[in-house]
Amino acid sequence: MAVFDALMQGFLVALQPINLMWALIGCALGTAIGVLPGIGPALTITLLLPVTVTLSPTAAFIIFAGVFYGAMYGGSTTSILINTPGESGSMITALEGNKMAKRGRGAAALATAAIGSFVAGTIGTFLLAVAAPAISEIAFVFGPAEYFALAVLAFTSVSVVLGASILRGLLSLFFGLGLALVGVDYQTGQPRLAYEIPQLLDGVGITIVLVAMFAVGEILYVASRRSTAPQQVIDISGPVAMSREDWSRSWKPWLRGAAIGFPIGVMPAGGSEIPTMLSYAVEKRFARNPEEFGHGAIEGVAGPEAANNAAVAGVMVPLLTLGLPTSATAAVMLAAFQNYGLNPGPTLFINNPELVWGVIASLFIGNFMLLVLNLPMAKIWVKLLAIPTPHLYGGILVFSLVGVWGMSRSWVDMALLAVLGSIGYLFRCFSVPIAPALIGLILGPMAELQLRRAMAISQGDPTVLVSSPVAAALLLAALALLAMPLLRVFRR
């Protein structure tokens, strides 16, 4: 009942005309960046950070949530019509949806993707509203050792799951942890890794790293390996709608997709690849005509799309309750919380109920807005692809420069942007994932703080780190995550 009351209060916040406008801006922006190549939700939220400091935290997070959800909707449109999955969660949609479009069933594919995303997003958001307050209570029993163990679990899970290899995932993670150490040590006041450059004493700004690794690295990488093949957008005739048979073949995959996506999204190592692949496998097993899979089966679009969107709602659970980001976008949102001086966790639910419940309610409203924006207007969004690539990437650079120059107007920051952007380029050249670096950078200071607190309390006894069952279990889970793939390698 308390959850229901809190949610109603959240709707009172989210339904204010100004907040409805922010939600619409976020959803439209999210859909647009989902359609456009080279820009993802993480980069968009990063670029919005300097602008949103002038807004209230509630307004800013309503925009960010709209961008996060909207990018998933926009990504499925390009997956279906031009066979380019903007993010890993849309790979399966591209596989089946594009085949459907080639067979003249593009409208049905777009419709089942949009409605499935709406259904799963709404179920996921409802589960988020119910689960989040309960999970956040757990954090009350957390001390320094538990928080440190939680950070270690986040580090290992993103390094193992995201990206191509564990070793390169760990390289990215430790690079991020290293960047987090630059600046004055908060406990002793000693400068670390600042090399007598005064501007580095405050540390490396998260915005600079995010913009450099995502935007500048991408600009350099695509410029060096640009595809000259023309994009073939498949034309869709008639309204974006489904037949009676499409409905009857889609509704069960939507529900199954939501049931698979949400719990996996909540897990530290969840991501969007595993739930979409799992949903695809489940749908193939349950399908009346499994031979259609691989040639444009509607169940193969409906299930994975639903799983993808439910996983996004799932990602919000550890972020809001424990301050634990499990994806690059969640890491950027955590940085945004830090920018406002807010700490996700149980105190956020107590001290800022207007913000938390307003954002959760806005997710329901945003989902509805996205359905309206995407179903009848899919053909309009696709027109964004007509922006010439040179001007699109030139524009990304201008907005990136606003984000960095607007922060401190320092040439050192501009130089850091270039250096870190070059590292982002090299990461792409060697398939090193970027998300672990971001999570290392954002969670690294918290991990060090809690480790040093725990060690100070125990007067230097390291067994304090495994003295509580929760901390021991979290560290054991982290160890298992690291050990399992290594065991597979040795067995081979």
């Binding site: 430790f174 690539t389 201008v398 792409r428 398939s431």
Partner: protein, 169 residues
């Protein structure tokens, strides 16, 4: 040769040591820095150098493991992505021009202001992406950067004077 799950292939072709060298460079820099900092403190347990030493050592170990992989013929494949063809040879001209677009603002924005500095960077990037109409792109870039400067200044983001070279605020 079939690419493995790791985005890497075992090959006898030219070995690429870039990644282990990058990891080794950062690891060494951190370990050297850690030698100037206290690892342990009497009352607070861990000193300011502990984490620096830990991260540096980890990076050195990763560099060693990556070197072992390269030595055994593993080659790290470039990432696939939208608008990217990882099978084509690297366009050095494209990379250099885009690099210029990113390096130029370090000097041009502090000296010439955001609209001109960012506009020129815009033109460098469009040229790197194959646009041949440089003058038009410079004009578009400066117009876009000026509009951005105006909009963001109104929103309260400080982007400095409009054109400091001629004293325009």
């Amino acid at each position: 040769m079939e690419p493995s799950k790791a985005g890497a292939t075992a090959s006898s072709a030219k070995r690429s040591w870039g990644l282990p060298l990058l990891a080794g460079f950062f690891g060494l820099a951190m370990v050297l820095e850690a030698t100037t900092l206290p690892l342990l403190e009497r009352y607070t347990g861990l000193g300011s150098g502990f984490m620096v030493a830990f991260v540096g050592t980890a990076l050195l170990l990763i560099a060693a493991a990556l070197s072992w992989q390269v030595q055994n013929g593993i080659r790290f494949q470039p990432e696939s992505g939208e608008g990217v063809d990882e099978t084509v040879p690297v366009s050095k001209a494209g990379l250099a021009l885009a690099g210029l677009g990113i390096a130029l603002p370090i000097i041009s924005i502090p000296l010439a202001g955001f609209p001109l500095g960012a506009g020129l960077a815009y033109a460098c990037v469009t040229r790197a992406y194959g646009s041949m109409r440089l003058l038009r792109d410079v004009v578009i870039g400066i117009a876009l950067a000026s509009a951005t400067w105006l909009a963001f200044t109104k929103l309260g983001v400080q982007l400095g004077p409009f054109l400091p070279l001629v004293g325009a605020k």
